[in-house]
Amino acid sequence: MARVEVLKTYKIYIGGKFPRTESGRFYSPKIGGKSLGNICLSSRKDFKNAVVAARSAFGSWSNATAYNRTQVLYRIAEMLEGRKAQFIEEIILQGSSKSEANKEVEASIDRIIYYAGWCDKYGQLFSSVNPVASSHFNFTVPEPTGVVSIFAPEENSLVGLVSTIIPVIASGNTCVVLASEKMPLCAITFAEVINSSDVPSGVVNILTGKRSELLENMASHMDVNAFLYTGKNKKEMLSVEKLAVDNLKRVRLKNLTNVYSPDHETPYYIEDFLEMKTTWHPIEKIGAEGSGY
C-alpha cells in the first residue's frame, strides 16, 4: 500500500507561536475549483492579541543594534533559500506555473537580502547634524514608528508579502500582517521561516482571514502607530484613512502591482515608517560667554 501523506494544518502566527484562531472559524479559498485547505479565519480578538505581542516586542527589536538586525534579516533569506522547494510547491498550488513560482521565490530571497543590507545604512542616509546658532551639538536621527498594521498584497503572495514586511521591520518596527485572502499558504509557511530565523517573537505576526472583517480594527486600534495598505480598492483606502485619524496613524497607501520592478527596492520604503528625532546636546564652553540656555 502506498504511504499516506501527512497533510499540513495552516495556522496563524502570533507572538512566536502558531495558534489556531481563537474564534475556531475557518475558510477554504479555492484556486481553479480546488480547495487550498482549511485556513484560519482570524477574528478581531486574534488581531488584538497580535498587537499585544507586537507592542511587547517593539522595545527590544527597536533597541537591537543595526548590525544585529542586518544579520537577522540576512538569516531570513538563508532560511528561505533552504526551503525554496516547499514555497515553489505552494505557489504552484496557488495557481502559478513552475517557472513563475521559481521566479517569485528567488525574487523574494533577493529582496530580503537587499533590505538586510539597509538596516545599518539608512540611518546615515536620513540623519543630519544641524548647525544651530548656539552652543549645542544638534542632530537628527530616524527612529522606528512603532507597531504597524499591514495589508499584504492579494497577488504575488510571497514576494508581495516580503516586500511589505521586510522594509517595515528593517528599522525596528514590529508588525501585524493580514496575508493574501485568496492565496494564504506561503504566508504561513513564511511565518515558519521567520520563526526559525532569530527574529524575536512578536516582531512579525501573521494572520489569515478577510480584509472586510479585520480592516476596522487594524486601522483604528489605538496601540497601532501606522498602517501599510496595498491594493487599489478606493473604498478600503478611504476607510483606512478615516479610521486612522483617532490616534493619527501614519497611513501609507501602496500599489504593489508590478512587484518585481526594482522600484520596490528602495530605502524610502523604510523611511515611510520612521520618525525623526532631534536632540540638543549641550556643549560646555568653559570660560566662554553665556550658559547653555
Partner: protein, 488 residues
C-alpha cells in the same frame, strides 16, 4: 532636615523701575483687508472683527473675515501665480526674493516685536529676542535652499506641489508664519496662509513686507478669519498641501477632512512634554530650565515642559528653589522689558486655564501660585504649579497651554522613562543631568521628536521640529523641513 531655610522676600525692595517699550514708531491701520493676488481686497461678506490687546482689552484694529468665496479667490490667485510665475522663474531668483523678506524683517524687527507683544500679550523681551529674530533667520535659512534642492535629495528630482494652504496658531504668530511660508516658497510652492484670529497683525505686516520685497502677485496670499476660514482652505479642491500648527483636536478634524483627497499634510499639534531632573544635574541651572520650560510665553507653547519629573533625592531642594524663583517672576505689561510673564492670549484661553486649575484642585492636587500682583484689566494667570499629582490626573494628561506645571517624582531611570512616555503626545522632552552618557541614554528612550539636554524651548531654523504619536507628523526646519513641500 534644615528647618531654617533662608527665604528671600522678593516683594520688598525689588521693585524695578518700569522700562516700557515705546509704541510711537509702529504703524497700524485701523482696518485690515485680505491680501490676495498682491492687493488688499475687502472681504466679500463685508464683515470685520476686532483684534484686541489682551493686556488691557483695548481694540488694536479691525480685521477682515474671509469666507469660502474669499478663500477661493486666494487659492485662484495662488494657482495663477504658481502656473505663470513662481514655477517658471529660476530657483536662484526665488531664493533672492526670500532673502529680501528676511532682510526686511530684520530692518523692521522693532516694529514687528512691539506689534507682536501688543496683539498677543507676550513679553517684549521674547518678541524682540526670540520670535522676530528667529522668523528672519528662518527666511534666511530657507532662502539658501531654493537653488540647492537637488543636493538635498540626490537623484530624486524634487518637484514642488503647487498651492500650499497653511494655518498658523496664536502663540508665535510671526514665527509660525515664517516656519510655514519660508520652506513653501523655497521649494517653489505658492501660499495661502491663515493666521490665528486673535493674532493676525504681524502676518498682515508680513504681507506688507512681501509687497515691499516685490514678490510676484499671488505668490503669498494672507486671508484672516477663524475656524471657518481655515476649513475653507482645508476643503478647497485646488489646494495640494495642508500645513497646520495647532491643537490635536483640530489636527484630527483636518486629517479626517483630507482623507481620500491625496492632499499632503504636515500637522504640528499638541504636547505634554516631560522635563526630567536627575539628582546629578546642576540644580540652579535646572530650575532655570524648568522656569523657561513652562513659563516661557505664558506656557502657550506646544512643546512646553508641563510635566516635571524630579528625582526623589533632590525633590525638596528643587521645589524650594523653584518656588523661590517663581516669586521673582514679573507678571505684567508685555511691553515692559522687565516682564517675564505677559498676558494670556485671549479671554477664551484664560477660561481654559482656569478650568484646569479647578480640575487640578478637584482631583486632589495641591496648587501653588506665586505671590505676584497682576494688573486689573486684561487676562492674566499667575505662574502656577501642582504637586501631589498622579499619572492619571487630567492636569498631567491633557494639554493646558498655560503657565501651569504638574510635578511628579521618580527614583530610577526605568521608572521615569515609563512615566514620561505614558502620554498620547510625543512632541518634546527635556533631560537635566551632568552625565553625558546618561543624557544620551535618556534621549534615545524618550518617544518624542525633540529632546533638549540641559536646556529647553530652544529653536533654530536648521533644527527639524515635529512630533511622534498624536503630536502630529512631518518636520519643520532643517533639511527635513523641505520634504513635506516636495514630491519625487
Amino acid at each position: 532636615m534644615a528647618k531654617k531655610t533662608i527665604k528671600i522676600n522678593f516683594d520688598t525692595g525689588w521693585d524695578l523701575a518700569p522700562a516700557v517699550e515705546s509704541t510711537s514708531h509702529i504703524q497700524l491701520n485701523e482696518q485690515y483687508d485680505l491680501f490676495i493676488g498682491g492687493k488688499w481686497i475687502k472681504p466679500s461678506s463685508g464683515k470685520y472683527f476686532a483684534t484686541i490687546n489682551p493686556a488691557d482689552e483695548t481694540k488694536l484694529a479691525m480685521i477682515a473675515e474671509a469666507n469660502s468665496k474669499d478663500v477661493d479667490k486666494a487659492v485662484k490667485a495662488a494657482r495663477k501665480a504658481y502656473n505663470t510665475v513662481w514655477s517658471k522663474i529660476p530657483a536662484k531668483e526665488r531664493g533672492k526674493y526670500i532673502y529680501r523678506i528676511a532682510r526686511l524683517i530684520q530692518e523692521k524687527a522693532r516694529e514687528f516685536a512691539v506689534i507682536e507683544s501688543l496683539d498677543g500679550g507676550k513679553p517684549i523681551r521674547e518678541s524682540r529676542d526670540v520670535d522676530i529674530p528667529l522668523a528672519a533667520a528662518h527666511f534666511f535659512y530657507y532662502a539658501g535652499w531654493a537653488d540647492k534642492l537637488d543636493y538635498a535629495f540626490p537623484n530624486r528630482k524634487p518637484q514642488s506641489l503647487g498651492v500650499a494652504g497653511q494655518i498658523t496658531p496664536w502663540n508665535f504668530p510671526l514665527l509660525m508664519a515664517a516656519w510655514k511660508i519660508a520652506p513653501a516658497l523655497a521649494t517653489g510652492n505658492t501660499v495661502v496662509l491663515k493666521p490665528a484670529e486673535t493674532t493676525s497683525l504681524t502676518a498682515l505686516k508680513l504681507a506688507e513686507v512681501i509687497q515691499e520685497a516685490g514678490l510676484p502677485d499671488g505668490v503669498v496670499n494672507i486671508v484672516t478669519g477663524a475656524g471657518e476660514t481655515g476649513a475653507a482652505i482645508v476643503n478647497h479642491n485646488d489646494v495640494n498641501k495642508i500645513a497646520f500648527t495647532g491643537s490635536t483636536g483640530v489636527g484630527k478634524i483636518i486629517q479626517n477632512a483630507i482623507a481620500g483627497t491625496h492632499k499632503k499634510a504636515t500637522l504640528e499639534l499638541g504636547g505634554k512634554a516631560a522635563n526630567i531632573i536627575f539628582e546629578d544635574a546642576t540644580l540652579d541651572q535646572a530650575v532655570e530650565g524648568i522656569i523657561n520650560g513652562i513659563y516661557f510665553n505664558q506656557g502657550h507653547v506646544c512643546c512646553a515642559g508641563s510635566r516635571l519629573f524630579v528625582q526623589e533625592s533632590v525633590y525638596d531642594v528643587v521645589l524650594r528653589k523653584l518656588k523661590d524663583r517663581m516669586e521673582s517672576l514679573v507678571v505684567g505689561n508685555p511691553l515692559d522689558k522687565n516682564t517675564d510673564i505677559g498676558a494670556i492670549n485671549s479671554k477664551e484661553q484664560l477660561q481654559v486655564i482656569n478650568k484646569y486649575l479647578k480640575i487640578g484642585e478637584k482631583e486632589g492636587a495641591k496648587m501653588y501660585q506665586s505671590n505676584c500682583s497682576i494688573p486689573k484689566k486684561g487676562y492674566w494667570c499667575k505662574p502656577t504649579l501642582f504637586t501631589n499629582v498622579s499619572q492619571s490626573n487630567r492636569i498631567v494628561q491633557e494639554e493646558i497651554f498655560g503657565p501651569v506645571l504638574a510635578i511628579q517624582t521618580f527614583r530610577t531611570v526605568a521608572e521615569v522613562v515609563e512615566k514620561a512616555n505614558n502620554t498620547p503626545y510625543g512632541l518634546s522632552a527635556g533631560v537635566w543631568t551632568d552625565k553625558g552618557s546618561k543624557l544620551f541614554n535618556m534621549t534615545s528612550q524618550l518617544r518624542a521628536g525633540i529632546i533638549w539636554g540641559n536646556t529647553f524651548n530652544k529653536f533654530d531654523p536648521t533644527s527639524p521640529f515635529g512630533g511622534y504619536k498624536e503630536s502630529g507628523f512631518g518636520r519643520e526646519g532643517g533639511l527635513h523641513g523641505l520634504k513635506p513641500y516636495l514630491k519625487f
